[in-house]
């Protein structure tokens, strides 16, 4: 492959890493700091993707809208809608402890995916929504480089906001809730409020990731939002990178996406009759990787910073 091709692939690769980094950062707020077992990431990811797609595409007879709005409007409403869904889910589940929350969230994510599949007036069902515009496509063209730049700027903003939140008294209460709920309650804190806030903000970031995904690939259908790719992989990234550490969340996205796409190269070399099995093997390999990480580095590559910040 000549240099241009490698650069082109690098930009494409990093754009995906960036999208996953946002999902992983959102999950870090929920799980890494607060201890909320959200395995319905795909649901918020999908809500964000479809919201921005419907708002920004050109009018179409096949689905609601499109409304041809500017991309920024799409991104903002993707976050707002993902946040609203999170408020509803959160109000229902905020009292649930980890394992129950997990069951509730995976159920809701599946409901959302099946809803997107069946409500054709809204989403064009399985045929999906094509023609989702790239950022600055009219002025700067379809380059992956422009897209990557937009993603990097957004990640930086999200990262800084999350770091400020983590280091604040608000973040301290979240970590305390993760460590020992009764201890926080005994200090007179309103645990449900903190939980709901963390859940909603984390889900909004996931919604933003979904919107960027839609604008990057240009075409979305319900198939893109299965638990394997939109939930499971994100968990692997956060665990590998370092739960509780925002830098770890980003690093995990990079490394696991590298492994994931690397195994795709490997399985593409398999004889055609084994292609389906090879696909399943990829998931197995990722599962084994999680086991190895949990055994060798249970806190991930970049463990949570517990440095004393009061001095």
């Amino acid at each position: 492959m000549e240099l241009g091709g490698i650069i082109e692939y690098g930009l494409f690769f990093l754009s995906f890493v960036g999208i996953y980094a946002l999902l992983s950062l959102g999950l870090n707020l929920q799980w890494g700091l607060t201890g909320q077992f959200n395995i319905g990431i795909a649901g918020f990811f999908a809500v964000g993707a479809y919201t921005s797609a419907i708002l920004t595409t050109a009018p179409s007879p096949h689905h609601l809208g499109g409304f041809g709005m500017p991309l920024a409007v799409g991104l903002v409403f993707a976050m707002v809608l993902a946040g609203l869904v999170a408020v509803l889910v959160g109000l229902l589940t905020v009292r649930l402890r980890t394992d129950y929350l997990a069951i509730a969230t995976i159920g809701i994510a599946e409901i959302i995916r099946l809803g997107l599949k069946n409500e054709e007036w809204l989403t064009n069902g399985v045929r999906g929504i094509p023609g989702i515009p790239r950022p600055f496509a009219e002025t700067l063209g379809q380059s992956d480089g422009v897209f990557l730049l937009v993603v990097v700027v957004l990640i930086l903003m999200v990262y800084l906001a999350l770091e400020a939140a983590r280091r604040s008294p608000w973040g301290r209460v979240l970590r305390a809730i993760r460590e020992n709920e009764d201890g926080v309650r005994a200090a007179g804190k309103h645990i449900e409020r903190f939980r709901l806030e963390a859940f909603v903000v984390g889900s909004m970031i996931m919604g933003l990731g979904g919107a960027l995904f839609a604008h990057f690939v240009g075409f979305i259908s319900p198939e893109a939002f299965t638990p394997e790719f939109a939930t499971f992989l994100v968990w692997v990234m956060l665990i590998a990178g370092g739960s509780g550490n925002n830098k770890g969340a980003v690093l995990g996205a990079l490394i696991i996406w590298l492994v994931w796409t690397g195994t795709e190269f490997l399985t593409s070399m398999a004889p055609p009759e084994y292609v389906t099995q090879a696909g399943a093997l990829r998931l197995l390999m990722i599962g084994i990787l999680v086991q190895v990480i949990l055994l060798v580095r249970p806190d991930g590559l970049l463990p949570e910073e517990t440095a004393d910040r009061t001095k």
């Binding site: 939140a165 008294p169 973040g171 301290r172 970590r175 201890g183 200090a187 001095k311």
Partner: protein
């Protein structure tokens, strides 16, 4: 500042944990609550601290009815408790464990954490200063930067006491502060409790099994057996109370021989 418990009854299914219990924690005392396992001491604590609702009866704090108010409402009124098993935040430093506690921290609002960072920082400095005061009082300054999960059992008990000191509450319920604490730390803990009473006007109600500790620290002492209050007074009187002795040795039904 007193707590008055009036005729509290609490059942769990068929089991009567508390039957018509009445007692008073007078202001400025270290009131001890003793009794064999299963006597209902912790259940009574849980009711006073708002974790459970009684089937009948009332809890009064400074004359006002606080029966059935939740933990964080009681906290606001100035009642705070510790647990038998310390509830430390393991993967946070000892300082952070203390800093979490105070209420009214503006940085606990996400909007303030983002947009009023200077004011939040100023308040953080105040809280941090209070933390240093508490750490010095409890002789825990040398472990301030350590993770709380790595403390010894006794140090965790001191940290629990420290967390109550981070509040404005002056009515403190301690559930077995002495359990699992070694001798030298125990002396230290007792001293801290006494000094809090003398110097800072705290009132304590303490559940404890270590009778020497109770004798040294508590007056009055209230003895409970099988959900009922059997006797109250000075520890030496309780020691010679026949019914209490029998209950502890378990060889007789209450009141019978």
């Amino acid at each position: 500042m007193s707590i008055e418990v009036r005729d509290i009854t609490k059942t769990f299914g068929g089991l009567t944990a508390l039957r018509d219990c009445s007692l008073t924690v007078e202001p400025g005392t270290i009131t001890g609550l003793i009794g064999p396992n299963g006597a209902g001491k912790t259940t009574l604590f849980n009711i006073v601290a708002g974790a459970f609702k009684p089937d009948s009866g009332q809890v009064l704090f400074e004359g006002a009815d606080i029966t059935g108010l939740g933990t964080h409402r009681l906290f606001r009124r100035g009642i705070v408790r510790t647990f038998q098993v310390p509830n430390e935040f393991s993967r946070m430093t000892v300082r952070e464990n203390l800093m979490v506690v105070p209420s009214g921290q503006m940085g606990e609002s996400l909007a303030a954490a983002w947009f009023s960072r200077r004011a939040v920082r100023r308040q953080e400095e105040e809280v941090a200063a209070k933390v240093e005061d508490v750490l010095a009082f409890l002789n825990l300054d040398h472990v301030g930067a350590e993770l709380a999960g790595g403390l010894s059992g006794g140090q965790k008990k001191l940290l629990e006491l420290g967390r109550t000191m981070m509040t404005d509450a002056k009515m403190v319920l301690l559930d077995e502060p002495g359990a699992g604490v070694n001798r030298s730390l125990l002396a230290h803990l007792t001293e801290a409790i006494e000094r809090l009473k003398e110097e800072r006007g705290y009132t304590f109600c303490i559940i404890e099994h270590d009778m020497d500790l109770v004798e040294r620290l508590c007056y009055p002492v209230i003895a409970m057996v099988r959900g009922e209050i059997l006797a109250s007074g000075a520890m030496e009187d309780i020691r010679s109370n026949q019914a209490v002795v029998e209950a502890y040795f378990g060889n007789a039904k209450v009141g019978g021989r």
